[in-house]
Subunit: 387 residues, 2 copies
Amino acid sequence: MKNFVFHNPTKILFGKYTIRSIGDETAAFGKTALLVYGQGSIKNNGIYDQVTKSLQDAGVTIIEHGGVQSNPVLSHVHQGIALAKENKVDVIIAVGGGSVLDSAKAIAAGALVEHDVWKFFTGKKSVKDTLPLTCVLTLAASGSEMNSAMVITNEATKQKFVSANKHLYPKVSILDPTATFSVSPDYTAYGAVDAISHVLEFYFTNQEPYTPVQDRIMEGLVISCMDSCNRILQNPEDYDARADLMWAATLALNGLTGAGLGRISIPMHMIEHSLSALYNVAHGAGLSVVMPGWMAYQAQQTPEIFAQFAERVFGITSGSVETKAAEGIQALLSWFKKVNSPTSLTDLHIPEQDIPMIAENAVALAQVWGMKEYTQEKIEDILKLCV
Amino acid sequence: MKNFVFHNPTKILFGKYTIRSIGDETAAFGKTALLVYGQGSIKNNGIYDQVTKSLQDAGVTIIEHGGVQSNPVLSHVHQGIALAKENKVDVIIAVGGGSVLDSAKAIAAGALVEHDVWKFFTGKKSVKDTLPLTCVLTLAASGSEMNSAMVITNEATKQKFVSANKHLYPKVSILDPTATFSVSPDYTAYGAVDAISHVLEFYFTNQEPYTPVQDRIMEGLVISCMDSCNRILQNPEDYDARADLMWAATLALNGLTGAGLGRISIPMHMIEHSLSALYNVAHGAGLSVVMPGWMAYQAQQTPEIFAQFAERVFGITSGSVETKAAEGIQALLSWFKKVNSPTSLTDLHIPEQDIPMIAENAVALAQVWGMKEYTQEKIEDILKLCV
C-alpha cells in the first residue's frame, strides 16, 4: 500500500425529506446565495420549489443561475462568476447532477480570483480558496457531491478538462434518493456506468501489487451499482434501489477507493472526454463505448487483475487467467447492453474514419494529465477496439 | 436504507515516515500539549523518541501523561484532566492504541468542563466541545483513531461504558503501519478480532431488510482483517499486511459501515465489556469468546443474514440456510482458534458458575445502552453457549 492522506470534510445528509434542510445548512454560510441548476427539470419534479421554500424560510436571498447543460461549458461558468461577484454572494448552491455541481465548484473558485477560472484547469493557477458550496443532488453518477474535482468543457478550445483541489469539497451535500425517481432509464444507466467507470479506472490502473482492502471495496461497489440499476429499471420508484445507487456512486469517487493506491490514471475518461467534447455525447454513454475497448487492450498487459475482477464480480471461476479476463470484460459489456447503454462508436453514430481526429484530441488531454504513454497510435488502437 | 448523516472530519496521514509529521500537525492547534501514552512500549520501539523529537522541532511544549492501561480507567483520566487544566494545555496528543486514544478523548472532553467527565458516559451530560486531539496510532484494532466514540472503565463501579459525540473525532490521526511491527502475535490477533467484531455487530443487528452496499463493504472488511492477520502471523514485518489490517480496522468503525443501517446495537460488546470489567480480559480475547456464542443464539432468529455471511465471507454455498449459517459461525470460530484467540470462557479461566454474575453486570449495561431485550435470562443463555 502506498502512503496517502485521506481527509474528506463533506457532510452528507442522506435520505427522504432531507431537501428541506438546504435552507438552514446554507444559511450557516451566509445570507446571499447563487443558486446554480440545469435545464429546468427541477421545476417539473418539484425540487426547485422545495429548495427555494427552504431557502426563503431560512432567510437566504437567492440569485438564480440556471441553464447548466450536460458537459458543462466554460462560458456559462464565466456568467455565473460574474453574477456571484456583482451580487457579492456568500455561498453557492448546486441543485442538480455532476454537471451542475462542477459548474458550481468552478464558480465558487472563480468568484474569489481576478484571473480566468480556466487557468485552474490548465494548471497555470491553483485554487487557494473558494466560496462555500452546498448541494442538493438529483442524479447518482459523478460523485462530485463528495469529492474535490470538477470537469468543465472549454467550447472555444474543444477541451474537456479536470481540476482537483482540497478546497473544492462541498461543505454539505443533501442526497435524497426520491429526487432521482424521475431520472429516465437511459440516464439512470449512464449514471451507473459512470460510477462503475470511476471504480474501474482505479482498479485497473492501480500499480500497487497488493491492495486487498481497496479491491474488495471496489468490487462490492461495482456489484452494487449494477444490481441497483437493474432494480431501478424494473421499478423507477424503488426507493431502496435508488438509495443504493446514489450511495454507491458517491462512495465510488470520494477518495475511499483510491486511498493507498498511489498514482493511478484515468485513461477511459481521457478518451471519453474527447467523445464528449467533439460529439456532445452523454458522459456515461461515451464511457460504456470506451470501457470494453480499453479493458480489452489493457488486459493484454495485466490480465491477472482482469481475471480477479471476472471472478469476484461475475463469479467466473474456470479457465485460464486470460480466458477469465476476457469473459469478465464480455460480462460487463453484456450488462451495458442489457441496460441499453451504447457499446460501440457505431451505436453513437460516430464513423470509424473519425478515429484519428478523436485520438488527436485525446492526446492533448493525455499530455495535460501526464499520461505520456498514451500516444496517438495507442489511442487509435484502443478506439479501433471500440468500433 | 435508513436516513443518515455522514460527516467524518478526521484527517488521516497513512504510511511510512508519517510519524515525523506529528509536530507540525499538532502545532497547528497550539504550543502546549498533553502527551498521553500507555505502559511504555513506545519507549522501547523508538516511537516515543520520534514523536517527542518532531514535537520539539515544531516548538511544542510537552506535558507527559503516560501509564494508560488496557481497559483504561477513569481515575487515570481524572489525573490527565487535572494535568491538562493545571498546565492550560492547548491540545491533547494520543500515542498508542484504542485505550490511549479513548483516555485522550475523555481528557480532551473533561478538560473543558467543571463536572465529572463520567457524566458523559452515564448520559447525564453531553459533550459540547473538546480540546483538539491529534494521534499517532500504534495498534490496529479499535477504530477510535477515526471515530467519535470512547470507552472507559469506572473501577469504583465496575462499569465499562461508551460515550459518543461528534466533537470527539480526532483532528488528525497518523497511521504508520511500521509502528505496529512490534505488536505481539496475540495482540495482533485480538486487534483483528476487535475490528471484525465492530463490523459484525452492525452486520448482524442491522434491521434494515436491504443494505447491499454496506453489506458488501462489511464482508470485504472481514475478509481483509482475517487475511492480513494471517499474513502478519507468518511475518510480523510484512509491511503490506500490517497496512491492510491497520486501514481495514480503521474503516471498520469510522461510520462508513453503519451509514444507512438505522438503529443497530452492540450486544457482543455489551457482554464482553462485563468480562473486561470483571476479569480485566483483553478486549479482543473476550470478544472471540462471546462472538460465536452470541452468533449461534442470534442465528436461530435471523438465519438468512448468517447464511449470507457464510456464503460471501467463507464461500460456503451448499446446504440449507440454517446449515450455512451454522457452518459460517463455525468457520469464524475455527479462524479464532487458528490465530490463538480464546473461544470459550474456559480458555479465559472463567468458571461456568460465574455466568449469573457476569449477566448481572451486563444487564446494567444493556439498560444504559437501551437494549432492554437483553434480560438476565437471555444473557445467561448466550453465555452458556460460550462455555
